[in-house]
Symmetry: C2
Subunit: 662 residues, 2 copies
Amino acid sequence: MRLVPLSQVGAGIWRLPFVSVTPDGEGADHPAPTLAGPRTDRDRPRLVASVWRALVGRPLRFREAEQEQITPVEGLSALSLDALTSVAYGPEAILIVLATAGMGALNKVLPITIAIVVLLVLLVLSYMQVIDAYPGGGGSYAVSKANLGGGASQLAAASLIVDYTLTVAVSIAAGVGALTSAYPALHSATVPICLGILAVVTVLNIRGLGEGARAFLLPTFLFIVGLLAVIAVGLFHPLAEHAPQPGAVVVSTGVGTVGILLVLKAFAAGCSALTGVEAIANGVPLFKEPRVTRAKRTELLLGGTLGVMLLGLAVLAVRFHVKPRTGQTVLSQIMGAAVGRHWAYYVVSLSITAVLALAANTSFGGLPVLASLLAADDRLPHLFALRGDRLVFSKGIWTLAAMAAALLIAVRGNTNSLIPLFAIGVFIGFTLAQAGLVVHWWRTRPARWWGRALLNAIGALATGVSSIVFLVAKFVEGAWVVVVAIPVFIGLFHVVARYYRQVAGELALGALPAIPSSKPTFVIIPVVNVSRLTAQAVSKALSLGHEVVAVTVVFDNPGDAADDGGRAIEREWERWHPSVPLHLLRSEYASIVKPVTDFVDQVRNERQDHQIVVLIPVVVPRKLRYRVLHNQIDVALSSALRARTDLIVARVPMSLEELASS
Amino acid sequence: MRLVPLSQVGAGIWRLPFVSVTPDGEGADHPAPTLAGPRTDRDRPRLVASVWRALVGRPLRFREAEQEQITPVEGLSALSLDALTSVAYGPEAILIVLATAGMGALNKVLPITIAIVVLLVLLVLSYMQVIDAYPGGGGSYAVSKANLGGGASQLAAASLIVDYTLTVAVSIAAGVGALTSAYPALHSATVPICLGILAVVTVLNIRGLGEGARAFLLPTFLFIVGLLAVIAVGLFHPLAEHAPQPGAVVVSTGVGTVGILLVLKAFAAGCSALTGVEAIANGVPLFKEPRVTRAKRTELLLGGTLGVMLLGLAVLAVRFHVKPRTGQTVLSQIMGAAVGRHWAYYVVSLSITAVLALAANTSFGGLPVLASLLAADDRLPHLFALRGDRLVFSKGIWTLAAMAAALLIAVRGNTNSLIPLFAIGVFIGFTLAQAGLVVHWWRTRPARWWGRALLNAIGALATGVSSIVFLVAKFVEGAWVVVVAIPVFIGLFHVVARYYRQVAGELALGALPAIPSSKPTFVIIPVVNVSRLTAQAVSKALSLGHEVVAVTVVFDNPGDAADDGGRAIEREWERWHPSVPLHLLRSEYASIVKPVTDFVDQVRNERQDHQIVVLIPVVVPRKLRYRVLHNQIDVALSSALRARTDLIVARVPMSLEELASS
């Protein structure tokens, strides 16, 4: 799904057409040019293109890109999975921190979860106000750009890029964690499974998810209902232990005191459960009218469900004395203790894997659109604003997939290695969006604006303080990576913007350039013999130029008895007598490239006022495999001349069929 | 060194200039074009080119390719190493066959060696006649082509290709065998060492060996004198055993009878020692005058040395009861038993490794020249007749290196796995060359021609019978590979020849084509905005064409609020008002390639009598890394249009520096 509607995208990218530059730009709906003669083996590489086309579907017309119209319940599956699935790693993140202070400290999970749920309530209320203020979809980049200026918006953008990438990696790693908890035999294949799921999600997004969003409903429903049921069963459980849990307990030896830093660390880790709360506010335009009401209702629904799940899981974790274990997620342990490792456990486990993969998908809706907006603002390469055949921003999708894959490989698919990096980016975004809203209320001053501003201010303060807590508490464990990455991205934005400003000046964009004028044209054709190929090339040259000269290289090779100093071709040229002179270029070396470029330079110098054209005749054989039987002189010549900006260099491919009949 | 002098090469390749098509065609002596503006990062890839250039040396002038003038002693090192070094694997090959009949059979090595030396005498006498008859250098390809016709010459050529490839592989494997016998710790690295030596030999040959041949003298001298000394010491040895030989004995259990088939097999295996006897006759033109006398003297010298070595080693093998062992060559055992594993042993072992590497080198002198002759006869791709910067036939060198590397990897550097394949190709060549000579004597009838013809006939008969013996005796062990490979090469010659005949007809080579004539030219320029880039492109188009039209793609995207249906660029074009119209191409899809190719097709259809040109403007940024910041639309467009034979497609690169100042 797209977090920003199509109508918003592209504003301001006036110098950029939205084009497909994918190599599969021609496909099922795009018949190959038919004038180039009959199809030959040269089309063989299209097999790969066809398979790819079948995978991603035919090119779409713009009007086929549907404007999704969703209801609150659909909104949960389309926009809230990132947030809801946080329960798969949030509680575990808290327990892992607490376990470092010994098993007795694990009880503290309950008060810490309550604090997180309080923050959740604040965030939900605050974001309902964002929906009111920005019904057009208010990502933290857009809100902070409008209210806080360029610097804040770039910080927001960099944070979002980090956040989107981490969401993909964390969700997939956690999903695979749920899978390998249920099926421990798969544990050793964690990284390949992660990358496999990433590949599927990537291809689905390149395809475009338009028609697919409703398919998310079933796993989402299974996940929410199943997990709530598991929690309910767990709460009324008679506490007869089920089968002992597999997996070694993590850090069971430490017996420390539960200091304030430890509590803050656990809180910071647990706040990873709040990521994704902002997604609904970004996606308001996707809802059916009345959009704002429906979107706010979805936000409430999300907050309620997530809060109940978090609290329920915290209570159960204490009740079942759950400890962090390797090869066994905390959620899996709670479920196993509540309902036993029977069919219900496996159904919910698989639904968790599925919804986590779909949660990763949320980022694929977000980052490419953000990148396209940044490209439109000249802050990222314009490539990111180009749409693929399926009208998605394919470069952004590939980039996100590559970054997430690198992260997953780096941490070997271990969710808990990523948690310290996570949430910082999100919370910076929370803070900026809400701070922006305070400015917004201050500027627009609607009725009761001070109440709204106060709520957002409290939200901004809470998330801002939390961000600092994360940074301090988790700096050594990995948060430093984020501290490095965000300025790097901001620096990139600046470098790119400076370059585009410079180029725009040099190309005189926006100003009118000089009126074009023509010059006399001088055409040079390198030839090797007198043949139909040469004749056709000379004809084409005569059509282009005011003056045409053919050149051929003659080797000054005293050791070669067959060397006639070029007399043979000279004689034949005379016999043929076209209207074009032939120059012999003598060379003491075995290269023909050098004599030709020397001659071109000489002509270039003598005729400063001419347009110089080099036409390179190329035989196109019937089948690709015959290429090796033809001299590749044309390749060497074109590669030697292709970077020359003072010439026009054109390869002139001529097919053997056509030459035979010419 | 080259087996065929430069003066012979290239005769008849009238349609082929000898050119360098290597990507490093421009080098130290070839300054890059300087008119293209100042050097930029785009030149970075030249670093690799520079390293390569340092490795292979600057391009050579034709007159710098020296005509080597060698004496008989130098001839031994330049042309006879392939033959002389056969002692490193020939005796061992015999013993390995005999060992299958039990240790008692090993004594038979002496009579078998005597039979081989008799064959050697016959061959030497026969080849001295070849030198008389073909003082211009008589390879079996040339001799059989002149006397026996096309079919025999192709058989000779295919056999030679197989033989040259096997010579490289066997020589390197045997050389590494000598090295790992002396230093057993290296045994596990056999394949990498083989490939390393192959790489060095290959690069040296790409560099050209002109100045290097005399450097071969020292190792050759060390090898001949050292080995003869070892044999002499061994013969007068008091027979007090030195240290026991390392390595497990191969096939020590079998106790069979020594049947006729076994003897034939052992003889066939031992004949691998005779390979290379023909090389001197191929290289006659390299000798100082009087060439024929000197070459014949060298042939005699070779025969005498090789015969003495073979007989001496056979006697010592019996005397020291040498058995084939793993990780220890027979030659190493004999040397170890004769002089002990002291300094003399190591010096001779290392010189054996060195001369075997140089023996591999002989094939690099032979196959590329043979391939160039075949290319000149239209029997291999013409590429093989192209000289590199260093005036060597580089394609043939690379091909030989690739085939030898594949063989070495396939047999894991084990000489004895290659022996059953070896010698068949050589002996087919022996047979054809001598049979050709019989015809030659019959035709020319000099004084006492019948004696000469008789000698060659006996030689042809002996080698012909031997070839059949090899084939039968070693078919299952690997000779079948050769039986498959030779017809495959002959088939390749036929396919290539048929293709070139067809192309020559289609191109009307040798006939005069129609007189070229010009057509009116219609130029299409895809543009995206009004800028200096566009202005420059339009100027160039006006210089080329009678009619010019600019096109721009406008997306029919109802979801995009910024979409103005192209009004902005239309207005700006009107304000600019160049003499060229702008066509808006409306598209419902996101690709710009398709609308442009559709437009081109339409113009092509409407103006059958026009020459259609598509000029694609390309910005060349200051540094390569900035490319990603520019749209790659030009790449997509050129790749969609490049195979079109009904258009001229030219990318028009323009550098930002020049545009800024235009």
